[in-house]
Structure formats: C-alpha cells, structure tokens
Subunit: 309 residues, 2 copies
C-alpha cells in the first residue's frame, strides 16, 4: 500500500552577518509545500512542480538529487514520487533550493520510519543543493532541517550545532527582484582577508553564540556585524546602505545579506518592532523603481513540518 | 589610618587555540602576590619587588602605570605603595605582566571601596600592560580580573564577556626556558590570511563558545583548533609538534601556544588526565637539553583573590 506525506519546508537565512558560511536560521511560514509518496517502481520521479519553472528531470532537480542520494544509501526496494509546490522564488537568497533539497529527504525519511538523524539528512540534502550552487554547503540546509539558529561547525566531517534561539526573535526580509548568481557573489570575494578583520569577525561570532545562549538581545545587536563580506557583496544590492540605515534606525538588532543575496534581512526583538522595521525598509524601495517583496517571520525553532501523513 | 590589602594575582592563558586575540582563561595557584597600602603622600610608589628584576620606577613598571591610570581618574587625595612578590617569570607567555597590571588596580579598587567594575579595571590595567607589549590588549588581563574563560568582544569600546567554565577543566603548561618577545611573535604573523582559514577559525570559536555553555567536553576537543596562528608561531617553539602529539595522544582536549609563547598549554578533563598529559609533555622535553618548568592548574573561576585585608 502506498504511503504519502505532505510537508512544509521553510526558507532560511544563511551567513547572518558575522557568520559567513557557518551560520543560519530558519524562517516560519515562508516556504514550500511538498508531497512525497511511495511508488512500487524504484527510483525518484518528480511528478509535479507548481509555482516556478524548474527541471522535472530527477538528476537536474535539487529535490531529486538529494532524494537519490538517500535511497542510494538506504536501498528501500521501492521508489518515491515528489510533488513540489514552490512558494520561495529560486535565486532569492532565502534558501529556495535548500528548501527543496532538504524537504525531499525529510519527507522520505519520515516515510521510511526515520532511519536517519538530522545530520545525515543534511548530508544527503547537500548533494542536491550542490546542483544549484556548484559546491556543497550546509548553512541553508541545516536551519531548515534542525530549526532555529544553527552553526555548521565543519563540513568534513559534517557537524551541525543547534544553537538556542531566544523567544522574541523576528526576521524581516526584503527581496529586490534582481538576480545575483551564487557563483558571482562568491567570485566578488577576496581570497585573502586582513587578519585584523578576521579577528573582529570571530570575536563577533563568539559573542553572538554567547548572546543566543544568554537571551541577551542587546549583545546580539552589538554582535551582528559583518566587517568581512558585506563591504564586497553589498555593492551588488541596490540601496543596501539606505535600507540598512533605515532598519537600524527603526530599532533592528541586526542587518545583513541573506545568503548571497539579493534578499537582505533585519533581525528584531518582537513582532511590533519587526512591523515598523519592515515599514521603514519598504519605504526605501518604494521611492525607487525596483520591484520587491517583503516577508516577516518569527524565527522557526522547529524547521520542516509534517502537514499530513 | 593606613589600610592595606594582600592579594593573589594569577597567571592566564590567552589566545587559546581558535581564540587569537580575543579569548583567555585564568590559572589557579600559579601567580604573584602583591601587597598594596595607602600612603598619606599622593601618587604610586613601588617599594619592593621580589622574585625577578623589574623596574622600581613607577612609570616603567606595569603595576605602577596601571595604578597611575586608576588614581588619575579617581583622584583619591592620597597615594599607594605597592610590594610585588613575583612568581610568574616575565616573558613566559602566561600573563606575567598582566598579573602585575591587573593586580595593582584590583587591590587599589578594593581599598577605595570598589568604585570601579571589572571592565573599568581591565581598561586601567591595559595602560600598564601596554608598557610591556607596546600595544593595548585585554586577553591576558580580563581572565585575571573576571576569572574563568573570557571573550574580549571588542577593545573599542571595551567589552568583556565572562563565558561559562565547565567544572572539570584543567590546564597543563610547559614553559621552555627560551625567550620570545611579544613583538617578534607578532611580526611573524601575516597581515592577510586566507578567507577559508578564517571561516574555519570562526566556526571553531563559535563552537567553542557553544561547548563552554553546554558542558560539552567532546565538542571542546573538536573546537580547540588553531589553523591560522599556530602554523607560524609554533616554529618559534622547540619540539612544539612532538609535545602537542604527546599531549593529544594522552587524551588532552586541546593544545596550543599560551599567549605569544614560549609556554604551551594543554587543556584536559579532570586532574588525573592533567597529570598524565603533564608527564607525557615533560617526557618530550626531558629527552632534549632544554630547561623547562611545568604547571598544572584547575581553571580558576574566581580570578584575583584577596588574601588578607
């Protein structure tokens, strides 16, 4: 008898100012739905994609590739078909491909009776994510799978740390409708950085982790600073400095580029603050000719959710 | 009526592998004693120095300079004389000058009825420490003043975070009798470092802070890695790699250069482990012609202590 599961796979914000390549957090109601069901025939097939134009061919679809990695390891003796209801625009910088890559392996793991832990699921999902970013990363995947704030301690061996997430943290995201390719955003970065800036960055990351453990919102604010990457990548994002200034002036705890952009995010304490920060950020873009969308979300401690099974 | 206080000012280990320039911890029974008493005449005078040959002239003595910085701010209307019973050899890399600089301001603050908090005391002590290191640092001072593990979040403004210190942490230190000047140890470092190495380092520091908060000794072990500074500075320390290998093989959680050397340290879980790591480290140096000393200490959560008042 065939089994099926419907899940919600959320978007994520990676890098998070001082945590380039190692830190991420999970968004709440912003994300894709996916339906995965067992099939008698082996293998993975993508049977439906709604929302955006993405490849149906399993080996070219991030959800397909991560699912293939899992079943190659598990060898279930049957297969799965996947329907993707895409809500996160590909290339937005809030983990669109990660949501697909993580969602399919989460769903299959549930249908198989949870043989794999979250770190193992992240490893499978990395195979899918690599299809879109050309290199293996976990800082967008792990927050979707673990929920809350995560630190990718190392990729080899893969080690993910689930950090505490203070209760009142909200994120505001503004997504200008421009395209920045992950590869280009990587190419703009220098190979070497000044040791002094690296020291500032690791002091900030260390103190951010301390702030998350201590529920210290004020220290969070002083820690969410990126002196290494932002000066380069912010050039790719129109009105970055103005939006940042507006958000911080309105009381945002921190501000930065989400993933490799073009989305930019603010973190706030509480929903009221998030709403006024959102308004301030919108105002900057409204006076330009740019198309944009904004999202407001509590930080999601749970990660991917099962909707029905 | 004159008042006096006798204090114990401990040695410290700074940098601590992945925490170059920002992390330090406090040693327990390894340190100096100082006696400070009020005098009717204003100013600071150093009236006794035992143990090592250090300048009596107030403006050239780290304890004198830090004390001057404090009384210049407080303007007590009377003065202090300082006796220093030095046990930590200057230039050993375990915070000898920091113990003096921090000790005098701690003692004077006690005699004045504690007008200053620990961060303010660290700021005064930095003025003294600068006499010996030619630049202002806090990563040796703050652990003596705050106790336990500290993160120097920033120097300007000065912000010190007291991190949790797991109960069973011990340090073993081996001090080869060679001289490494702080200035030389700084000069050997590159101005720029590879971004990839910086990312590894900040992932390690973030995960170290998480491990300290979580009492996770195993994660501590995986985090205490220095991929940035150690490859350069370890060249200045004879038999570094052999001692490191011996310590880690014997179960040390981590290993590194204390401050700018020449002392090197291991961190262990528990005193028994510390004793066998110490033996393994001694064995390496015993088969060489080097003079050396070792120290074994619980991590001191209290910092500078009042002996009598």
């Amino acid at each position: 008898m065939n089994k099926e599961i419907r899940i919600f796979s959320p978007g994520t914000v990676s890098n998070v100012a001082c945590g380039f390549d190692v830190l991420g957090f999970c968004l709440d109601h912003i994300g894709d739905e996916m339906l995965v069901r067992t099939t008698p025939q082996q293998g993975i097939s993508i049977t439906k994609i709604e929302g955006y134009d993405l490849p149906y061919e399993t080996e070219k679809n991030v959800a397909g590739v991560s699912a293939l990695a899992l079943i190659e390891d598990f060898q279930p003796g049957f297969g799965f078909e996947i329907e993707i209801y895409k809500r996160i625009k590909p290339g937005s910088g809030i983990g669109s491909s990660a949501a697909s890559a993580a969602g399919s392996v989460f769903a299959i793991n549930e249908l198989l009776g949870k043989p794999y832990n979250k770190t193992q699921l992240t490893a499978f999902a990395m195979k899918g994510e690599a299809v879109s970013s050309q290199s293996e990363h976990a800082d967008n995947l792990a927050p979707a799978i673990f929920g809350g704030f995560v630190l990718v301690k190392s990729l080899n061996p893969l080690e993910i740390l689930n950090l505490p997430t203070p209760e009142e943290l909200y994120a505001v995201i503004i997504h200008p409708q421009i395209e920045i390719k992950t590869l280009e955003a990587r190419a703009i970065l220098p190979k070497d950085i000044p040791l002094q800036k690296a020291i500032t960055q690791w002091a900030n990351l260390g103190s951010l982790v301390h702030a998350l453990h201590s529920d210290d919102y004020s220290l969070l604010q002083r820690s969410l600073q990126d002196v290494v990457i932002e000066p380069y990548r912010s050039q790719l994002i129109p009105h970055f400095d103005e939006v940042k200034t507006a958000a911080l002036k309105q009381g945002a705890l921190g501000f930065g580029i989400s993933g490799s952009g073009p989305s930019i995010f603010a973190i706030t304490k509480g929903e009221d603050s998030a709403r006024s920060v959102e308004a301030a950020m919108r105002k900057v873009y409204e006076s330009s000719s740019l198309q944009f969308e904004t999202y407001l979300s509590k930080i999601n401690k749970e990660g991917i959710k099962t909707i029905s099974k």
